[in-house]
Symmetry: C2
Subunit: 217 residues, 2 copies
DNA sequence: TCTTTGAGTGAACATATGTTTACTTGCGCT
DNA sequence: AGCGCAAGTAAACATATGTTCACTCAAAGA
């Protein structure tokens, strides 16, 4: 009796919904892959994306009504990713001074691990499409607010008013984006450049926190 | 004797070279105009640009070998503009504390006056095309270095080592870009948002300078 | 077992694109 | 006055694009 299940004679390895999600994911990562080859989202064509995903152009419309919709999903995925980043930093515990270097290293690892998504975010946060730009900025400000909350909860920068703290966090987030865009452009065969990047980024953050400590309204 | 010049019976209003530069400029600002309508440089087509400039597609090749070449000229123009910005800030003289607000206001005016170029820079500094991105970053680092030079010469932040000063200036420049991208997205019919933008940006810079003052190697 | 459903196909379409070619036409030099 | 040079043109091309339609055919439900 080789087949334990009687009636569904061969159970398919993937059921219908799973298959659908599979090609959907293929479309999404095809778009990311094309962007990693050096173009903005607005410069991608539907046919390229479907070709890279290994499906026929018409299939695209089974998943998205237009290209922008795919872009918005990528923004959403990136937002999730950023929240995981915050969580990872949070869970290291909190030796308040050594935390800086640790956080930066986690950040660097995160950028490596989600290179394509970071590239997408950094490109589209100031990119051509207003709708994508707005969506990215929204995620960014969520991120910033959550960071402010964490900082207050951890007792970092206790002297700052609520608005000053938000202003500081937005400065930190801006610096993070700035740093990410620089890291993404480093040639990956020269590790000492990455070390310099870490050092520089840590210093910039330290400068900001020094400023926050000295802050008076 | 109605015509003072005897032989060139009608002197043309624009000579050959001037005419050429004229359509060249039309091509450049056509590209900027199209980008202002919400797309990255990489999403522009040669035919659109020429159509907007009021010439036929083939004319493009009389001025540039490829699209990227036009983009590089725009980067160059933007670099000149940034140098003018620095000069304008420099020439205000230097009451060292009130200078901050003044500089930010000059900056805001500059962004308004050169809106299209700023949009171009902000978009392409993290945009799709690696060659444009590199060119923008090069201008940016010139700008940063020049700012460091000015700061040292003006005696601002005297406690900082040379590398610390460069690191600080690059942080300032990053914050400027960040702020520019936010200003460019503000709806232009709500002036109080611009006032908030100024206030916020001034605070972020003040924070940075406070940090620089407290800096120890 | 039979039927329904819907993800993926293949072909067709109208339109847009980059690039080349031979051409016009008028400025500017001799 | 006459001629060359080059900026702009017009047309043609091969190719790429977005979108649609009727289709297949296997999984899921009856």
């Amino acid at each position: 009796m080789p087949n334990p299940v009687a009636h569904p004679e061969v159970t398919p390895l993937l059921n219908r919904g799973e298959r659908k999600q599979r090609t959907r994911a293929a479309l999404l990562s095809a778009a990311l892959a094309l962007m990693s080859e050096g173009r903005g989202f607005g410069a991608l064509s539907l046919r390229e994306i479907t070709a890279r995903a290994g499906v026929v152009p018409a299939t695209f419309y089974r998943h998205f009504a237009q290209l922008d919709e795919l872009g918005l999903v990528l923004v959403e995925e990136s937002g999730l990713m950023l929240r995981r980043l915050l969580r990872d930093v949070r869970r290291t515990g909190l030796p308040p001074t050594a935390m800086l270097l640790t956080s930066v290293k986690i950040y660097r690892q995160f950028i490596e691990d989600h290179r394509a998504h970071f590239l997408f975010v950094v490109t589209e946060r100031s990119g051509g499409s207003p709708v994508l730009r707005a969506a990215v900025r929204r995620e960014e400000s969520h991120f910033s607010r959550e960071m402010a909350l964490d900082s207050r909860q951890a007792g970092l920068m206790p002297g700052l008013s609520s608005t000053a703290l938000e202003m500081t966090c937005s400065l930190v987030v801006g610096t993070m984006m700035f740093a990410a865009s620089e890291l993404l452009d480093l040639p990956k065969d020269q590790p000492q450049l990455e070390a310099e990047w870490v050092a520089r980024f840590v210093r910039q953050l330290r400068l900001i926190f020094l400023g926050a400590r000295a802050w008076r309204e």
